[in-house]
Amino acid sequence: MDTRPVLMKGIGEADLRSIDVYKSRGGYEMLERAVKTMQPAQIVEIVSKSGLRGRGGAGFPTGRKWQFLPENGEPRYLVCNSDEAEPGTFKDRMLLEETPHQIIEGMLIGAYAIRSHHAFIYIRGEFLRGYEIFRAAVEQARAAGYIGKGICGTDYDLELTIHRGAGAYICGEETALLNSLEGKRGEPRLKPPFPAIKGLYGKPTVVNNSETLSYLAPILRNGAEWFAGVGTERSTGYKIVSISGHVKRPGNYEVPLATPIRVLIDECAGGLRDGRKFMAVQPGGGSSACLFEEHLDLPYDYESMAKNGTMLGSGAMVVFDDTTDFVHAALALVRFFAHESCGQCTPCREGGHWLEQMLERIVHGDGLESDIDLLKSVSHQITGLNLCPLGDSIEPFLSSVVNRFEDQFRAYVKVPVAS
């Protein structure tokens, strides 16, 4: 099975950071074709027809998102989200470091499609190396006439600005990202209004993930039908899946959507380590609920994941074998969310902190049997009461493993003895 069919093609074989190498493989041809021969509306239509959905986590159809922009409303902005910090996800960093021109070309095509003259990319603060590589690529692209005044010899002006984050998972949430880009604390905004109506500087804005944007050039090259023909009717095309945890060959694998989970784990990632038994898989990043043995033949697509109470999210798959201590695993993720809460909503801020303290107590052997029910009850009470999805992300993994591996939690807690 080819696990590098589109975006990952050539990674590790050619130096795709060099604009000459990228161009020798057809790079920037689609940008030229777009700005020279196509109307923005045509591109929106092709992308809509391709069925491309956002690869950043929410899976929203990209073409439809673009169509939410008001007809007039200059200026408007495109923002590429490269803040990647969802636990288990490591594909945007790879794209940034290995094939930056593909992101740039996607950003420029996307910006042209929404008639924007200024595109931004928000790069996670920790990705210093990725930032430097990307900056060098932008300079090459600018020198080649793809960025700036009159791109590709047309009269279309398009500026591209790189913005570095400074450490905050929540800045991956699109409205927090926009606040951070405006020089503010990265606190999510109340929606609506959605960024398409009121985004950066209060102007219509599209925020797209870097993987989403990277697919634009291949879609223009091969046609909407090509992309729509892969996967299922509503989960079309390819997706980079980051597989890690207890597998033999952790890594990024680009596969057609709806590839069975078992194939991803066994064929792509080489299966479990010798002598180990499969226990669970978290299929869509730290915010998703676990799936188990009985789910291994499910196709990995948006609908199948949703139907089974979890999500595809950013495409980060963490595999757990029978050596896993799920109490410690739950603590690691709960502590993450408690640490990353921006603090605006009481359930998220306080609830995450309570859960962290309860789990700390449990792993240190000071928990009570009643704490297990308390864990369930507190986590359910956090959900649904928050401004952004982070608060609702604390519960799914925790609940799924407490329910499935309750014996592991019970082994840690003290059972009151009748006196």
Binding site: G165, G183, P250
Partner: protein, 242 residues
Amino acid sequence: MTATSFEELAAALKPEADAIVAQYEDSRSALLPLIHRFQDAQGYVSADAMRTTAEWLGLSLAVVESTVSFYTLFFRRPVGRYMLQVCRNLSCTMNGAGAIMERFRERLGVGHLETTEDGLFSYEEVECLAACDRAPCMQVNLEFVYDLTPQAVDDMVAAIRGGTYPVKPLAQTEAPARSWHVSKDAVPRVPGGRDVPDPNDPGGIGDRTGVIMLDRVVRDLSPDRTRERLVKDGRELLERGH
């Protein structure tokens, strides 16, 4: 950093700062980039840096401080020359990060969010660094290090101590304290004023000047106890230097 050298730094950065501001439709967007530049030069985000950024962007100092304090990669106190940030999230924990963290704590003699006495190392346990395929992983001054083992930890610490580690040290313009984390270094904490060494000194928690004064105003001087009278008598007391 002395006042003149900070002014020199600010003057040297000004043209670049202007270029950064010009990239954005609203100058406030330059806040994070400018703070990054100052931190690169000074090793941490100094009060001078925040004040200057506020001035350049036409913001209040409070706005700049509040924004800076939101982001974990901005250090509001001096840090060590090598910032060691070890991942403590899921995939790393499942692949041995616990032993790595233990080894660092042992070898360095410091814990989470702390700096060694010689100012060489700062140590922090951080969240997912997006390198789960190479777990356990970490960053040293934001350079990735993959597939860690306890032996690799020993080698790294020795190489940094010996001056042979291939990653450039951070700038260090001031000696770091035990922790750069604001919530941690306020120990022992004296409510009413961090700079009060003795809690009974004026401004400390044991300082009862205000209470005594109010008591005297109420008891001796203001028999009718109206609000206006209390304020007036209080002012007079203050002016007389009590």
